[in-house]
């Protein structure tokens, strides 16, 4: 009895609340999923094709998430403007893609054209990311944590409205590539070609990054700086160079993701397009464990799939109408839940106990 009371004293009512929240959420998910599955409204093929489109979307989140995770690993700051870095590449390249389409280049040599577009987008996004670091973040490297975050929020809006000024406030659309517009069938499941291409393009880029971080000298420097800046500097590593390189790599991946995203979802290219993918990619990075490269990849794919099947699986089972409208709410709820219950993410290491 005495023992029990002592244990209960250690548990504050906030903990109890959080435990209650946990139980309610798990119950909701189980009940929703159970209802949907027993109603027999969807077949197994539906779930598979939903998961595949989720994987394609998730691989794009993963590419953006890598930028958050790399920067966080090195500077311990959330680059809030990273979604705008993605937008910069995607928004600039849409005009070139349409030009390629007009002159017929895009459909005669689709592979080459897409590669060129990706390189252009990567360069644009990279320049934005590097300028951002140089102008807005570097002078604040020693400041209290919230100061660079506020700067990043400012930079985010500055970039959005700058690009609105450059290219106008209208919506642009990527051209459709005929080579990618077909579908093929495996068993009973029909899969759009574009989803497979998007997925493998993203995987190829991520493998490249993994190789870079693990096998090259620069990657080694990056790991060293993320481990301990001071010691890394003593070992002769130019810290500023490593940081700029990190921003550049993150920016290039985001830019390439912009073009890949354009292939997958051609519509809705405008100045605010980076905001929601940015938050979702941040969610993915936290989900996988911020600071961890494989974690960001895994987190992205995971988020993509959840977002794709979640509304149908859970929300419809709970009797909520228009479940697909709440897709974004699912992602944001995920973000909040991960931050509450497992801030270190799937692969992340435990941060210092009291703050994480």
């Amino acid at each position: 009895m005495e023992d029990l009371r002592r244990r209960l004293d250690g548990v504050s009512w906030v903990d109890l609340f959080l435990w209650g929240l946990r139980i309610v959420i798990i119950l909701l998910i189980v009940v929703g999923a159970f209802n949907t599955l027993t109603s027999g409204k969807y077949t197994i093929t539906t779930w598979i094709s939903l998961s595949i489109s989720g994987l394609a979307q998730g691989s794009i989140y993963a590419l953006i998430a890598l930028g958050y995770t790399l920067v966080y690993g090195i500077l311990l700051m959330i680059n809030f403007a990273h979604g705008e870095v993605f937008m910069a590449g995607a928004f600039t390249t849409v005009f070139i893609a349409n030009y390629f389409n007009r002159i017929g280049f895009l459909n005669t040599y689709p592979l080459l054209a897409i590669l060129i577009l990706m390189v252009i987008a990567a360069l644009v996004s990279m320049s934005v990311a590097v300028l951002l670091e140089r102008i807005a973040y570097r002078p604040l490297r020693g400041a209290p944590r919230l100061v660079p975050l506020i700067t990043a929020i400012g930079a985010s809006f500055f970039l959005q409205y700058s690009f609105r000024g450059f290219y106008g406030s209208g919506f642009q659309t990527y051209p459709t590539v005929t080579a990618l517009s077909g579908t093929f069938t495996v068993g009973k499941v029909t899969i759009p070609v574009v989803q497979v291409v998007v997925f493998f393009a993203a995987i190829a880029l991520m493998s490249g990054l993994y190789w870079l971080v693990e096998r090259t000298k620069m990657g080694k420097s990056m790991r060293a700086v993320s481990e301990d800046k001071e010691v890394a500097a003593l070992m002769g590593i130019d810290i500023n160079r490593v940081i700029v390189f990190t921003f550049a790599i993150g920016g290039m991946l985001a830019g390439a993701a912009g073009v890949i995203n354009g292939l997958y979802r051609p519509q809705g290219v405008y100045f605010f397009m980076g905001f929601i993918p940015g938050i979702k990619a941040f969610t993915a990075a936290v989900l996988g464990g911020i600071g961890s490269v494989p974690g960001a990849m895994l987190g992205g794919l995971f988020l993509g799939v959840i977002e794709s099947i979640g509304p149908n699986l859970v929300l419809e089972g709970l009797g909520i109408d228009g479940a697909n409208q709440l897709k974004d709410a699912i992602a944001f709820t995920m973000l909040v839940l991960v931050l509450i219950f497992r801030p270190q993410g799937i692969l992340g290491e435990r941060l210092s106990e009291k703050k994480a």
């Binding site: 906030v14 609340f17 929240l21 966080y72 690993g73 500077l75 959330i78 005009f95 102008i135 604040l140 490297r141 020693g142 400041a143 944590r145 919230l146 660079p148 975050l149 506020i150 700067t151 929020i153 400012g154 809006f157 500055f158 970039l159 959005q160 409205y161 609105r164 000024g165 450059f166 971080v213 990056m222 790991r223 993320s226 481990e227 301990d228 800046k229 001071e230 905001f275 938050i279 936290v286 911020i290 600071g291 961890s292 490269v293 109408d321 479940a323 409208q325 709440l326 974004d328 709410a329 709820t333 909040v336 931050l339 509450i340 801030p343 992340g348 941060l351 210092s352 703050k355 994480a356």
Partner: protein
């Protein structure tokens, strides 16, 4: 004097030709940027001096002028001729990217991509000359002169320079607000009087010169006799000083009370918006400024207040009432406090930057929910809720912006009172302790959980009241009003005005909400300017425009401490929170 300037600038490299080219081209890039994003063309629609000068032209000459001024300051001690020549070359260098832009615009169809590189822009850049060649020559001359003027400023004695700058700034400021003056003057003094000094709402040239001379003269006079005036004021006996202060406050109070009837409907509307943002700013200030909890989802409270009011006062099918507005206000306040409390519970344990993103997530969830079909049956979905009843006392019904001004004023004064009292209270000090270091605060016996919850809940209350008044004032509620930008606006007001500083927030609300509503041209670039201001304030003046004394001291200490640490940034970044940097595996 030159020697002292050198001493102050020991960290600056010697100013040589390379630096000159760098700064000149930088000014050029800035000028080209404002041209390409369309600011110059948009601002050219606003005249500063009738028929002579547009705001676009001011914007065009500002980069070389400013850059020449800063470069010339670094050259202090060099001969005057050399400094002026440097200014001229900075002006000339500024034109290079602009000339490139003109050539590009005239010879390619780049406009397909960059929508603002229009023939109209070229026309502005070449000062409306038919021949591009003549126009470019004119541009070279004007920008070189701007450079010379900027550099020349540094050669003037400090008091003349100050008077000149204040003179130009006041002229420009009054010119931008000229519509406001025209509205007020027309009602008091008649149309003919106004037409004497203004031409269709824009200053005539002699008005501008007059205002400049008055401001210039007053500044000079103040420099000459200012210390004497101040000395005489201090010689006043203390009770007399108090008397003067109180009568000043009394006059200020009367002005506040009659303001909407002087200003008219449109300006009252602007004032109302400013007031609502002051209310929200003071509210968010409790969380962000005092307790250091960066809340990016403040719109949640605003939305809760507005929707509660809408549901309780509407006569449409969504209504549960209608209940009198005066009863709804406390309900909206409690509802907002409750949501603030519920949303605060899960984030209590989070670190600062995670908390910011999580609250952002809450704000977005609310936005998605109010728009969804799921809740449309209760709160109208995308169509919103219409037909809210106006607040009324007896037979008098509040329907116009002038009427709502008084409700907002009362709410603001109440909130100001609460803020000031909280600032100096035990709770206020607990919040500030929490802001500076959570662990130390906990070690000093502060209950961090309760203190944080109190900050979130009280901060939410103001948002709820603002939402309630907003809904009543509009008479309708649309989900589109409750987006991220509300949160960002409020946050910008606090940060730019000065975190934790009450006068800073009032100033911030007038600058960031009031000014853009008066200047239509600014509307489109509002968030661009906010973003840039947030960056600049964080880089150059993290304590804000009108800082609170404590905050400035603390930030100064933090900055001093970090500037000596050199490479050991990680400790400072984690701010003593001993976070092990996560590894990259």
């Amino acid at each position: 004097m030159a020697h002292m300037a050198m001493m102050n600038k020991t960290d600056e490299a010697k100013f040589d030709g390379r630096a000159l080219v760098k700064y000149g081209l930088l000014a050029g890039v800035v000028a080209t940027y404002v041209a390409v994003i369309g600011m110059i063309a948009t601002f050219s629609q606003r005249q500063v001096v009738a028929g002579l000068l547009t705001l676009g032209q001011v914007l065009l000459v500002a980069p070389p002028l400013g850059m020449a001024y800063f470069s010339a300051r670094k050259m202090a001690g060099e001969s005057g001729g050399k400094i002026l020549a440097a200014g001229a070359s900075i002006g000339l260098l500024t034109t290079l990217p602009l000339i490139g832009l003109i050539i590009l615009a005239n010879n390619t169809n780049i406009r397909i991509m960059f929508v603002n590189i229009s023939p109209q822009l070229v026309n502005i850049l070449t000062f409306g000359q038919d021949s591009v060649f003549v126009g470019v020559l004119l541009l070279l001359v004007v920008l070189a002169l701007a450079g010379v003027a900027g550099a020349g400023l540094t050669l003037l004695p400090a008091r003349w320079r100050q008077a000149l700058v204040i003179g130009v700034a006041s002229t420009l400021g009054i010119a931008l607000m000229s519509e406001l003056f025209v509205v007020i003057l027309r009602e008091r003094l008649g149309n003919n009087f106004v037409r004497l000094f203004f031409q269709s709402g824009v200053m005539r040239w002699y008005t501008a010169v007059g205002i400049f001379l008055i401001a210039f003269g007053l500044t000079l006079f103040w420099q000459w006799r200012g210390t004497q005036v101040r000395g005489r004021w201090q010689q006043f006996a203390a009770p007399r000083q108090k008397q003067v202060r109180w009568s000043g406050a009394g006059i200020g109070g009367i002005i506040l009370l009659i303001l909407p009837w002087v200003l008219g409907t449109f300006l009252s509307e602007v004032l109302d918006n400013v007031g609502l943002y002051i209310l929200m700013g003071l509210g968010l200030n409790i969380a962000v400024g005092l307790a250091g909890l960066l809340d990016l989802g403040y719109v949640t409270n605003f939305a809760v207040g507005a929707y509660v009011t809408a549901v309780l006062t509407t006569t449409s099918q969504y209504g549960l009432g209608p209940i009198p507005f005066w009863l709804v206000i406390p309900i909206a306040l409690l509802a907002a406090m409750f949501t603030g409390f519920m949303f605060a519970l899960p984030v209590l344990r989070m670190r600062g930057d995670y908390l910011a993103i999580a609250t952002l997530g809450f704000g977005e969830i609310i936005r998605v929910l109010v728009l969804s079909d799921w809740l449309a049956g209760r709160i109208g979905g995308p169509q919103g809720i219409l037909a809210l009843q106006n607040p009324s006392i007896g037979n008098f019904s509040f329907s116009r912006p002038e009427h709502f001004y008084y409700i907002i004023l009362a709410a603001c004064i109440a909130m100001l009172f609460v803020s000031v009292r909280l600032n100096n209270s035990r709770t206020g000090r607990q919040w500030m302790a929490l802001r500076e270091d959570e662990d130390v605060a906990a070690a000093m016996g502060i209950d961090t959980v309760l203190t944080k919850l109190l900050a979130f809940t009280l901060s939410a209350a103001a948002g709820g009241v603002a939402g309630a008044i907003f809904a009543a004032k509009l008479g309708t509620v649309f989900p589109q009003s409750f987006n991220l930008f509300v949160s960002i606006n409020v946050l910008s007001i606090i940060i730019i005005g000065g975190m934790g500083s009450i006068p800073g927030i009032v100033l911030g609300a007038f600058l960031l909400i009031g000014a853009p509503e008066l200047l239509r041209e600014f509307q489109e670039y509002r968030l661009l300017i906010y973003g840039a201001l947030l960056i600049v304030v964080m880089l150059r003046r993290p304590e804000g425009l009108w800082p609170s004394a404590t905050r400035r001291r603390e930030l100064q200490d933090a900055m001093d401490a970090t500037s000596h640490l050199g490479v050991a940034h990680s400790e400072v970044i984690s701010h003593g929170q001993s976070a092990n940097p996560p590894k990259m595996d």
